[in-house]
């Protein structure tokens, strides 16, 4: 027994409901020569689901037999443990687990896999697939270590890199991969899936509630399904007037945001001008936090900037003139 997210996860390409064009492409890829893939898209869009479906397309149902084990790598300074999910045909790692020393993992683990050849003739493809999750958090060094391996052992191993945004992947790797974008599902698609689950679970799901969940999920299907299930557990029957529950961190952030706004303009909702300015600042500080290392500094800086913008806006309303100082 598992959560609905896992229970109703599509197992094969045929079961996928949205992005049918992408599904077709994957199908073609699986039947022809299979390149290295770089799959990216927002979280909850279904990247990993598609990868697992693709694997099933490649190797058949054998990939469902999985095992997890912990491999240990030793660096001069410390021991690194990394969990490896693997089947006969493929391996999955998340190098991010070991932080900065992911280079060792990439070098040793990948080479080890890449240098072994599949000898079982009954298997359709003579290469193994290695899936690297959270590839965008790979350090520069380990990405550099990856590039030669990708070329050298092409015959033995195919990589599937999975990440949110390809911008942190260095160019040489991007050029060696086929980039596949998995966009987030639209609200309608989410609603469709939710109602499908409801039907299978024998639950009455009013369209309005489905819409509410889909709206609040930010087009994140995983979140939508999870909150659907938790809502169902919370309320016995999902009536139209239920209160959507945010996750904890969302509520905290909402709280803070409200406080920022209230302090300066209790009566006035911010105009479009202000929104644009804040958005611009948000983009700027997001970028800064990516470049820098201490997120809290940039978050605080953003808050101060937002407060400044809002405050100035309010002042401008009062005095009817934009006073810069």
């Amino acid at each position: 027994m598992s959560l609905w997210v896992d229970k109703y996860r599509p197992k094969s390409l045929e079961e996928l409901t949205y992005h049918s064009e992408l599904t077709n492409r994957l199908k073609i890829l699986a039947s022809s020569d299979f390149p290295h893939l770089l799959i990216y898209g927002p979280s909850g869009a279904g990247k990993k689901t598609r990868i697992s479906c693709l694997l099933e397309e490649l190797y058949g149902q054998g990939v469902r037999k999985l095992k997890t084990d912990v491999q240990t790598f030793t660096t001069p300074s410390r021991k690194l443990d990394i969990t490896v999910v693997s089947s006969k045909y493929h391996l999955e790692i998340t190098p991010n687990e070991v932080g900065y020393s992911d280079r060792v993992v990439i070098q040793e683990f990948l080479k080890d896999v890449a240098q072994t050849k599949q000898v079982d003739l009954s298997i359709k493809h003579d290469f193994k697939v290695v899936i690297i999750h959270e590839a965008d958090s790979l350090s520069r060094e380990s990405q550099a270590a990856l590039r030669r391996t990708m070329e050298l052992y092409m015959s033995n191993v195919r990589l599937i890199l999975c990440c949110k945004s390809p911008s942190k992947i260095i160019d040489p790797i991007r050029s060696r991969c086929l980039l596949i974008r998995v966009p987030a599902p639209t609200n309608d698609e989410i609603i469709e899936i939710l109602s499908d689950i409801a039907k299978k679970e024998n639950i009455k799901l009013p369209l309005k509630v489905a819409k509410l969940i889909a709206d609040q999920s930010n087009r994140d299907l995983r979140k939508a399904i999870l909150s659907f299930e938790s809502l169902y557990m919370e309320y016995d029957d999902l009536k139209e007037n239920i209160r959507y529950k945010f996750t904890d961190w969302e509520e905290i952030i909402n709280d803070i945001a409200n406080k920022i706004c209230l302090q300066h303009s209790p009566e006035e909702r911010a105009g479009n001008n202000v929104k644009c300015e804040i958005l611009e600042k948000a983009a700027e500080f997001e970028h800064r936090s990516v470049i820098g290392s201490k997120a809290i500094i940039h978050i605080e800086a953003f808050v101060i900037n937002a407060m400044y913008i809002i405050g100035r806006h309010k002042e401008g309303l009062n005095q009817n003139s934009m006073d810069i100082d």
Binding site: L3, K117, I123, S230, T247, G292, S293, Y308, D325
Partner: protein, 763 residues
């Protein structure tokens, strides 16, 4: 044979060099005795002789007229033969001639000594010109005419042999020695000069000269002195087997252990340099009748062995006084090998604590294992990581700044004794500048007299920099936010229309501040402190805070560039954004600067959260595990907690309605699949509660409406059932498989096939 000849030649060369030297040295003398290094010469000659004889014997065994093939017939044993010899009856063996020729050729270069082939000629004084006299061990004298360099040289097969034996003339060598000697002399004289000029005889540093050797003369704080003395006195019973004075007075057994030693076996003196720690330790130890053993950084810490000190407690060298060890500069220990010193002491003290009860039965056996003599540690930095294990078991005495007035008086005394005319106000200034570092003050006084007389002491004072001691981060924060203590003019900041600011009080200020920051070197900490504190300082607008954000961003960007791309040269820039905070936020000291270490705490919290998440995730079956990662799990956990702590209304558990039953079952199943469990726990008040394990509900802040204990209990029992069910299921399955296997074995007893799927290592 040839070889031996060469040897001979060498011997002769040796002689000749010396001869040459002497000859030239005493050119003015016509005749002189050859009296240099007589023994050596004789030895050489003897050697030469014997080898010569051997050759002779080999070649002229039959011949009586064994003429020396060698013109220098200065051999006592051959004397007879040679004297009898007639130059006309000179018979030369063919072989010998050849060799002789060779030798001659070799010697042709030389022309200082004229050698006659005839022995007789050498035996009488030459007719004219200079000559060299050689006295042999037998007492016979031989005379060798000296060749005039101007005079033409006669060459002949055997008549004249001209010799110059060395390539480097002895004079050159002598000259060299002379030069070196003079060099050394001049160096010596110079250094003497530089040492001498003003003070006639001063070999001691004043700091040592005026070191107090008596308890009453100590400069350090009275309380500190007393504490140290008391601690050392507490050892009296253990060391001297006599009742200590302090014990009688206090009569407090709490301060002592079973062997009448102080409870804390180690004394740790700490404080900045020059406060008199070592002096105090020495004086106290001496006055208590100990033999002081000092171990410090200049010695090898490794060579010191605590156990040796314990056992060799009464050595001869110590005048029958027990040892007291002072280990100085213990915070300087870096090497892991040296760390053993601390560890061994810690072990020693720690082990006796453990064995306390056992030792009562075997008091003698434990004698070796005990610390029998006091040890005093001295360090500057109390918080050095290597001291951590030591601190727990030691009595820590922190030194304070010595009293200014009494220190000034003491300095004045020294000045008077040394005939220095320095006024009290200057001494006070000096003390202030050096922050009470006694040693440094005295050193300054001592070396001030070497300055030219024209410069006044006041000028000197202005020349020297203040003590370059690392300021604490708090001091720097104070300076950043509250301005410099005692500064007359507070720096004022003016913004121009572009938002750039100028300091009215010149760039000197910022240079000082940045150098201060640089000297501390703890940029990360400083910036963190600035970050935590800057919001407390109210400024007119948000503007300065915005600027502060930019500086923080600048700092962060540089810092991450240094860390991830190793641009270490950028470190130079780091002090400036910190210093900028001074200009943005300097204000009145109404707020206390606090450093809450929040960053570190948050990090630790984050790590523990991540650990919990990872344990949950890793417990998942691989089919599910692969789809969840750390990032996505925030939502997963949030929803999961809400699900497993459901909102079930019934008050009475027995009356759970049929709708809720399946729900509870479902929750139990999910919990099982996530490997979550309820653990029975009793809190302090004795109330029973069930706690989630792993405690994922701790990760959420808002889970206020926890289900009541009853429901938790219900869930726990349900979970147990679920576990049992699953286990039974698994067991059944394995049993079934086993049975099947056994059955298949019986039917077809084939050897088990190896797996099809082999991974072959490619070569």
């Amino acid at each position: 044979m040839k070889h031996s000849f060469d040897q001979k030649e060498n011997y002769k060369e040796d002689n000749a060099i010396s001869a040459e030297h002497v000859a030239k040295k005493k050119k003015q003398c016509r005749s002189f005795d050859f009296d240099f290094d007589f023994d050596a010469t004789e030895n050489l000659l003897k050697k030469y002789e014997s080898s010569y004889l051997q050759i002779n014997q080999a070649n002229f065994t039959e011949s009586n007229s064994a003429t020396p093939p060698w013109p220098l017939g200065s051999h006592s044993t051959n004397q007879k033969n040679q004297s009898k010899l007639n130059p006309e009856g000179f018979q030369v063996n063919h072989n010998e001639l050849q060799v002789y020729d060779e030798l001659n050729k070799k010697l042709e270069r030389s022309h200082v000594l004229q050698m006659k082939n005839n022995e007789f000629e050498n035996m009488r004084l030459p007719d004219n010109g200079k000559y060299l006299a050689v006295t042999l061990s037998s007492g016979r004298r031989l005379y060798f005419p000296l060749n005039q360099t101007e005079s033409p040289i006669e060459y002949g097969t055997s008549s004249v042999v001209n010799k110059r034996f060395s390539n480097i003339s002895i004079y050159k060598l002598l000259d060299k020695i002379e030069i070196e000697k003079s060099k050394a002399d001049s160096f010596k004289s110079r250094s003497e000069l530089s040492n001498r000029p003003l003070t006639p005889v001063k070999t001691k540093l004043w700091a040592d000269k005026y070191q107090p050797n008596n308890y009453l003369n100590l400069m350090s704080d009275e309380n500190v002195n007393a504490r140290v003395l008391k601690w050392v006195k507490q050892w009296d019973y253990c060391v001297f087997k006599k009742k200590s004075v302090t014990k009688d007075r206090t009569n407090n057994s709490q301060h002592h252990d079973q062997w009448e030693r102080p409870m804390k076996k180690i004394l740790l003196l700490t404080g900045p340099p020059g406060y008199g720690k070592t002096t105090l330790a020495r004086v106290v130890a001496r006055s208590c009748g100990y033999n002081v053993i000092e171990v410090n950084g200049s010695d090898d810490f490794l060579s010191y062995n605590v156990k040796d000190q314990n056992t060799n407690s009464f050595s001869l060298a110590s005048n029958n006084k027990p040892n007291l060890t002072i280990i100085d500069g213990i915070d300087g220990i870096r090497d892991t090998g040296e760390q053993n010193l601390i560890n061994s002491i810690v072990d020693l003290v720690g082990s006796e604590r453990k064995d306390k009860d056992k030792n009562k039965c075997h008091p003698k056996k434990s004698e070796n294992k005990r610390l029998l003599r006091p040890i005093i540690f001295i360090c500057n930095e109390l918080y050095a990581p290597s001291l951590k294990p030591l601190k727990a078991m030691s009595e820590i005495v922190q030194f304070k700044k010595p009293d200014q007035v009494s220190l000034a008086k003491r300095l004045k005394e020294i000045c008077d004794k040394e005939n220095l005319s320095i006024g009290m106000p200057i001494l006070f200034k000096l003390i202030e500048k050096y922050e009470g570092d006694i040693r440094k003050c005295i050193n300054f006084l001592q070396f001030s007299i070497y300055e030219p007389k024209s410069t006044s002491t006041e000028e000197l004072l202005s020349q020297i920099d203040g003590k370059e001691r690392k300021k604490s981060v708090f001091y720097i924060w104070e300076e950043i936010f509250h301005g410099r203590k005692g500064a007359k003019i507070k720096s004022k900041v003016i913004f121009d229309e572009h938002g750039n600011f100028y300091d009215t009080n010149s760039r000197q200020n910022i240079l000082r501040l940045t150098s201060l920051i640089r000297s501390s070197g703890e940029y990360e900490k400083l910036m963190q402190g600035c970050f935590e504190n800057y919001l407390k300082y109210k400024t007119d607008s948000l503007k300065s805070k915005l600027r502060a954000c930019d500086y923080l961003n600048f700092y962060d960007q540089i810092n991450s560039a240094i860390n991830s791309h190793h641009f270490y040269e950028m470190r130079e820039c780091l002090p400036y954004p910190i210093a900028a905070f001074h200009y943005l936020f300097v204000g009145s000291p109404q707020n206390r600067i606090r450093f809450s270490n929040q960053d570190y705490e948050n990090n630790a919290k984050k790590k523990s959260t991540e650990n919990i998440i990872m344990t949950v995730l890793n417990a998942l079956p691989p089919q599910v595990r692969r789809f969840h990662n750390k990032e996505g799990s925030y939502e997963l956990i949030s929803c999961l907690v809400k699900m497993i702590l459901p909102n079930i209304r019934p008050i009475n558990i027995r009356n759970i309605n049929h709708e809720d039953r399946p729900k509870i079952k479902y929750v139990a199943e999910i919990m099982h699949s996530f490997n979550l469990d309820f653990i029975l726990n009793k809190d302090e008040s004795g109330q029973i509660n069930y706690i989630l394990d792993p405690p994922i509900d701790k990760l959420l802040l808002l889970s206020k409406e926890n289900p009541r204990v009853e429901i938790r209990r219900l869930l726990a029992t349900e979970l147990k059932e679920e576990h049992m069910l699953k286990q039974k299921f698994v067991e059944d399955r394995t049993n079934l498989e086993l049975k099947r296997k056994v059955a298949s074995r019986i039917t077809k007893p084939k050897p088990s096939k190896s797996t099809n799927h082999l991974n072959l290592q490619t070569i």
